[in-house]
Amino acid sequence: MNQILRFLQRNSWAFALLLAAVLLAVNLVVSPSFLSADRLAATLATLAPFVLVGFASTPAILSGGIDVSVGPLATFINCLFIAVLLPYGLGDWFVALPILLLAGAAVGTVTGVLIAIVRLHPVVASTGVLFVLVGLSITISRNPVSAPPNWSDGLARSYGWLPGALIPIGVVAIAWFLLRRTAFVSNLLATGESDVSAYGAGVNVTTVRVLAYTFGGLIASVAGIALSALLQSSQSSLATTYALLGLAAAVLGGTSLGGGKGGLLGTFFGALVIYLLQQLLTALGVQPSFVQVAYGLLLVVGVLLGATLLNPRLTRIRT
């Protein structure tokens, strides 16, 4: 028992994995066709925006800050793509993709500069950016605009055996895997753990911070593309929902809000837990309002467990 606990404490993602496995098993009992091959592509397409918005909020949290604007950024990219680029004939993938990725990275960089160079409180800066993004999204598409047939549609179906939704998730995961080989991620974790020590050790704290938000913005634009693939329409009203979901996924995945601990793997399982819980409650025919209660409870319980049982450094609680 003690060994299991120690394993859970040492690997911040393990608790979310355990929870996801349990929920998956229960889901399979309730609806045995849950993982059948013909539903898999659609399931993964619904899951992809959750996972990617969670991914997008992770680098900022790892750097010791927080970015509440990644969810609205994803919906902004969704509106930009479907309500602006497609009607103006810029919808081909080789035109749209660079524009969207650049826009996401640019917004992320602006947030990063506001936090690391103008030195605003991360919550304040990203709340300001959130306001601007939500306003812009509503300006671009007040009402949902449906998209004509376009390339992003394929990301929600499957290419032969490969579910299309795995492509955006996979690209981000590979990018993170490669980044882990560089000094950037180590510097990021060091900055998040203690920016003063990292600064003393010669890490360029300011650059690392800005890049963390840039990377988050880049992932958020991928999330926006995955969202467009799923919805095939522009939904500016989803901004607030995703703003909170991304944070919840990261926190459930064991990423510490103090910074310096966690990673994308945990966030993936965290997003999976939220998604599976939602599916389970929907399959059980529970009222949608109760789904929200369960989601709040999950967040609270996850945070409480992370701070008590699963905290490797818990020696003595301050009085």
């Binding site: 605003l120 304040v124 959130l130 309002s289 709040g296 301050r318």
Partner: protein, 343 residues
């Protein structure tokens, strides 16, 4: 002990000359909400010039004041939490709960108004107290905890109301907040006086009582406060309980003002309330935070959005302006220290 005039000792022993000119102005601007006040007066002038009807028809100004007072009431608890160095994202949940009790429980279950107030205060205050205590005890960021509790309360309100959005607050409650309400014969809704009264009480508490000083001390430096024998745990519990209870009451008035509720009634007040706190100049864990600042911030934001709407622009544009105002105001004085200076 012969040579005492090295640069370091000189700066310590010889008194510094008083700040003059620019430095003094800057100090003044940081210590008092003078910039916000000037901006508010300028905005009022612009408003009157652009829409002269505000002079001839006092009803219009009263409408603005009532909307601003609701925003200020919703941001009252948030002000205390921000002074403490935390953030309460559960405000939307508390407001939804209060609005649900005010419209649904009174009409469907026939609860009298005092019971509605009491239940809202107990439930929202209770949830807030638990959040505050747990966050302090387990060193959890209040951000996530309050987010979860907010979701529980919003979902729980809908669940308890069984998805029935038709209820209306009773007439006595509506006459408190709606524009047709009167106070002792004056054509001003009582909610305005209630918020001003609460604001004065809060000012007295923060500025004149030792409990208020303890709150500031805990916000500025929790460790030092704990060493000064302040029960920081109690401070956190009470502040979050107040934040919940005040937001719940704000929810009751918001429902009375709008004659009903919906599941998203609290959402605009969460972020706009935070914006009012920040525009007023209260920053995280700061001694310079106060409700006066939040009230000025709420007035500024309400007038700005009135101006934007009167120019034929939509609510979306006012969000963009809100965002830019927050960033600009906080960049002016809410900057943190560089890592180099904390080394």
């Amino acid at each position: 002990m012969t040579e005492t005039t090295t640069d370091v000792t000189k700066s310590l022993t010889i008194p510094q000359p008083g700040a003059t000119g620019w430095a003094r102005l800057r100090h003044w601007a940081i210590e008092t909400p003078i910039i916000q006040f000037v901006a508010l007066v300028a905005l009022i002038v612009v408003l009157v010039v652009m829409i002269p009807a505000f002079i001839t028809r006092p009803q219009a100004s009263i409408a603005i004041l009532v909307i601003a007072s609701l925003l200020a009431l919703a941001a009252m608890g948030q002000t205390l939490v921000v002074i403490l160095g935390g953030l309460d994202l559960g405000i939307a949940g508390y407001i939804t709960f209060g609005a649900m009790i005010a419209s649904n429980a009174t009409s469907r279950l026939g609860w009298p108004v005092p019971v509605a107030f009491l239940v809202t205060l107990m439930v929202c205050g209770g949830f807030g107290a638990i959040v505050g205590w747990l966050c302090h005890r387990l060193r959890i960021q209040p951000l996530v905890m309050t987010l979860g509790v907010g979701a529980i309360l919003t979902g729980g309100s809908m669940f308890l109301a069984k998805g029935d959005y038709n209820g209306q607050p009773p007439q006595e409650l509506r006459s408190l907040a709606q524009l047709t309400g009167t106070t002792f014969g004056l054509p001003i809704p009582p909610v305005l006086f209630i918020v001003v009264g609460l604001g004065v009480l809060l000012w007295l508490f923060l500025a004149k009582t030792s409990a208020g000083r303890k709150l500031y001390a805990t916000g500025v430096n929790p460790r030092a406060a704990a060493l000064a024998r302040i029960k920081t745990s109690l401070v956190w519990t009470i502040v979050f309980a107040f934040s919940g209870a005040l937001a719940g009451v704000a929810g009751i008035f918001i429902a009375a003002f709008g004659s009903g509720w919906s599941q998203s009634i609290g959402d605009p007040y969460l972020f706009a309330g935070l914006a009012a706190v920040l525009v007023g100049g209260t920053t995280f864990g700061s001694v310079r935070g106060s409700f006066t600042r939040t009230a000025i911030g709420a007035l500024i934001l309400t007038i700005v959005s009135t101006l934007i709407v009167s120019r034929g622009l939509a609510e979306a544009q006012s969000r963009i302006v809100y965002g830019i105002i927050i960033l600009a105001v906080v960049a002016l004085y809410g900057r943190e220290r560089h890592v180099r200076d904390r080394f």
